[in-house]
């Protein structure tokens, strides 16, 4: 199947030869800035056999061939083919450039492209007149095995935007590694770069894509980072070394000296898969070294608050609140944005500190790119006006501009503010401990001083915990609790006693009522009548004295209450008659008590009842 497709492609290519070849050059953009490459594309229509230069010499630009793309189209049974050669144009410095006409030999004919204009604006990364550079090298086996194979499989280069810089200036670098696309490669680590005299940041995650370069397809891997020179002089960067494991097709190891164009034809995974197996090789790709000229920062004109920031920066100011009272804090945010060594940027300096109190600021860096060269660093600090102020204080930030090659000082915006209220009192001039007069008690109190010591006996044993957390508090509640129990017991007993008296009185009332019924009956015989009368008197006497009625003698009853002589005699007569009748026998019981006698007795009983103790 592959053979049929290949034959068809060859036929198509033969058909494509019939068209007259043309060339055209275009730029991806006719303007850029230093450090920002553009693409130069040279399109050759009608032929694929063109010889293009690997490098185009233009003063101030580095133009390197980076790949090609082949395209075959069929329209109305007319087949056209085209090849696009891509160059990377890296501006070395700002200015207007002209990429000259490029002569290309196509099928033996010499064709020329039109000249192209490119305008390059300056930026922080493209200062100096030195050109960007890249150095590349091939691969090698760590144990020296198969260097030819290694060279065929991979090569590497370090791309630098410039070759001169200042101490402290952060320079972005790119480590490019090209692996032959027909070889299966496994990377187990990131490249290591020899960088004596530089600090280097961590490499970014690799960017991978497949490209065509010099007629061969490569798996292109790019790592980015940034370096910062820490000393001046001629410093060497590199090489960058990357170990990898390659699965090399076995048939590729046999040399094919006469392979010619067919090499590329058979350098295909399809044929590799069909024609042989793979062997695993541990290899290392290494770039060349490159030199940089590092200049020291100028000593003259260096601001006092310069902290080592090198780059191109701007500063924005924010503050809140803008209306406040003295002693209240203003949150001042200073955002330093741009491109440079943000690690070396320290907090801006407050020049005018009188009437202000400040606290150490916090800082936060937000990177705009992968390597942290561009971004913004925000400082946040609390400023406290101690007196009325109309504007924020003067705050300065200084850095070295490597393009202009001079120091620059930025001032924060002095935003208007409104500070209300009286100023907080200035600290009283207190004598320092060391200079305090010796042996003189500071008893004399002045307006601007504190009260003297308390020298009397101290009240020891105080506690910060409230008393209810102490056991003694709850134990002491036992005293009122016991008193409460005693009170309840007393009240209950008292109530019980009262109930007994009430019951006795009620019983006495009931007995008296029954006896009164007997006394008031007309048919009652004298013995029963006088017995009831005597009993009535006993019950009445007992109701007031808390005694048994039967135990009270008749003589005692008469003396219990203050009675007149008539009533006393009447009562004595009742008791005497009762005794007589008691011993008289049955004859008396058949008679009725005379009404006059009954009335007299009832009258005496009533008088006894009404008599008070």
């Amino acid at each position: 199947m592959a053979l049929i497709i290949s034959a068809l492609m060859l036929w198509f290519l033969q058909q494509a030869k019939a068209v007259d070849p043309t060339v055209a050059a275009t730029l991806s953009s006719d303007s850029t800035e230093v450090g920002q490459p553009v693409e130069l594309n040279i399109q050759i229509n009608g032929s694929q056999r063109a010889q293009v230069p690997d490098k185009i010499d233009v003063e101030g630009l580095t133009v390197i061939h980076t790949g090609q793309q082949t395209q075959v189209q069929m329209q109305n049974f007319t087949i056209t083919s085209s090849v696009m050669h891509t160059y990377t144009v890296q501006p070395d410095h700002a200015g207007k450039f002209t990429i000259p006409a490029i002569t290309i030999e196509v099928d033996g004919k010499k064709l020329t492209t039109q000249p192209l204009a490119l305008t390059v604006a300056g930026n922080s990364g493209g200062a100096g007149s030195s050109g960007g550079s890249s150095s590349n090298s091939g691969a090698s086996s760590p144990n020296g095995q198969n260097p030819e194979v290694a060279n065929k499989i991979a090569f590497s280069e370090i791309v630098l935007p410039k070759q001169t810089a200042y101490v402290g200036e952060t320079i972005p670098i790119e480590i490019r590694v090209y692996f032959d696309a027909s070889v299966r490669v496994q990377m187990n680590s990131v490249p290591t770069v020899k960088c004596e005299g530089f600090t280097i940041q961590n490499l970014t995650q690799p960017h991978q894509e497949q490209i065509e370069k010099n007629g061969r397809r490569y798996n292109f891997v790019s790592f980015k980072t940034a370096i910062t020179p820490v000393k001046s002089g001629k410093l060497t960067l590199g090489p960058a070394t990357l170990p990898y494991v390659a699965m090399v097709p076995q048939h590729r190891r046999a040399s094919r000296p006469n392979g010619g164009n067919m090499d590329s034809f058979f350098d295909d995974d399809l044929f590799n898969g069909m024609l042989g197996g793979y062997t695993q090789e541990e290899l290392t790709v290494k770039s060349n070294e490159t030199d940089l000229e590092i200049k020291p920062l100028p000593a003259t004109g260096q601001p006092g608050n310069f902290s080592g920031a090198v780059g191109l920066f701007s500063m924005a100011t924010e503050a809140s609140p803008l209306k406040l009272n003295t002693g209240d804090p203003i949150t001042l945010k200073l955002k330093i944005s741009g491109r440079g060594n943000f690690d070396m940027i320290s907090a801006p300096h407050i020049v005018e500190e009188i009437g202000w109190r400040s606290y150490p600021p916090s800082s936060k860096f937000t990177a705009d790119d992968d390597v942290g060269i561009s971004g913004s660093k925000t400082f946040e600090m609390a400023l406290i006006p101690e007196e009325k102020k109309a504007k924020l204080p003067v705050v300065e930030f200084s850095y070295f501009d490597p393009i202009a090659e001079k120091y620059v000082t930025l001032n924060a915006d002095r935003l208007p503010i409104a500070v209300e209220g009286q100023g907080t009192p200035a600290p009283v001039a207190q004598a320092s401990p060391a200079s305090q007069p010796v042996s003189t008690p500071i008893a004399a109190k002045s307006v601007n001083d504190i009260n003297y010591l308390l020298t009397g006996p101290a009240h020891w044993g105080e506690s910060f915990d409230p008393i209810f957390t102490e056991p003694v508090f709850w134990k002491s509640q036992g005293v009122p609790f016991l008193a409460f129990l005693a009170f309840i017991g007393f009240q209950v007993n008292r109530r019980k006693g009262k109930d007994a008296v009430a019951r006795r009185l009620a019983e006495a009332r009931r007995q008296k009522s029954e006896l009164m019924k007997i006394l008031q009956r007309e048919d009652t015989d004298p013995a029963t009548f006088y017995s009831a009368a005597t009993r009535y008197l006993q019950v009445e006497a007992a109701s007031r004295s808390n005694r048994n009625p039967a135990s009270i003698a008749s003589a005692e009853i008469i003396t219990m209450r203050p009675l007149d002589a008539t009533t006393g005699n009447a009562l004595q007569s009742i008791f005497a008659t009762h005794e007589e009748l008691h011993y008289a026998g049955e004859a008396v019981t058949r008679q009725k008590t005379p009404p006059a006698q009954r009335e007299s007795v009832l009258d005496a009983l009533k008088k006894f009842e009404n008599a008070r103790d």
Binding site: S363, I450, G456, F473
Partner: protein
Amino acid sequence: MHAIKLKRNQAGLFKKTIMLIAVASLTLTAWAGDFQKDFERANQQYDLGKFNEAEAFYNSIIDAGHFSPELFYNLGNTEFRLNKSGAAILNYERALALSPNNPEARANLIFVRAQTGAKIAPEDWRDRIVASLDVNIYCWAAACSAWIIIFALAIILLKSRPNNLAPWLVAICSVAFLSYAIFAVYHFEQNSSLGIVISKSAEARFAPVDNSTLVAALPEGSRVWVLERRGPWIYCMLPDNSRAWISSDAVERVRLHAS
């Protein structure tokens, strides 16, 4: 004979009790006397201008777990002389926590606060209605009120004359006083988490992270209420009722607990 023997035994018991009380009093006096001596020694160092030595003496008494309003007041003065205004305010606050009506401590506190610009929450209605008394007085008053209520209710329930209004009146007044005392105790307990900024630069932040957004900068001596502690940070209620995180090194609680 037996009566005489009983009388002699009773007299012996009385003598023993008196002796026991006397020994206990002497022990307590000696115990307090040690601190009083250290206290007086610290006062002497202060008078001699040796504030560091005075501070060490005062702190040794506190470390031993013995507190008094005078001790904290004098330590506050010493801290002020050592230019530690935050610590001075803290100790005046402690003196006032033990003795709310200490006029010297109150005056010095106001004076030092004015110097540092310390932030304190404005006095609210609760501060105004609760008299500045020792919290223990409110505790005892609450306990007494509760017992009076209990006795009054018992009288109402046990007495045979229900139309007597006196116990009802006493009970109602006691309930009102008990409510006030409990409210006062609760109000004082709210201050159990009170802390004082002792650092010269206390920054209150939204989150317990150094570069978090700044909520406020609190001068030393400012009052905060500690709500939570997380590692080297404490979550506080600030004087303006906002909440923020402050480094735990910058704040110290007013209330101490005896070891």
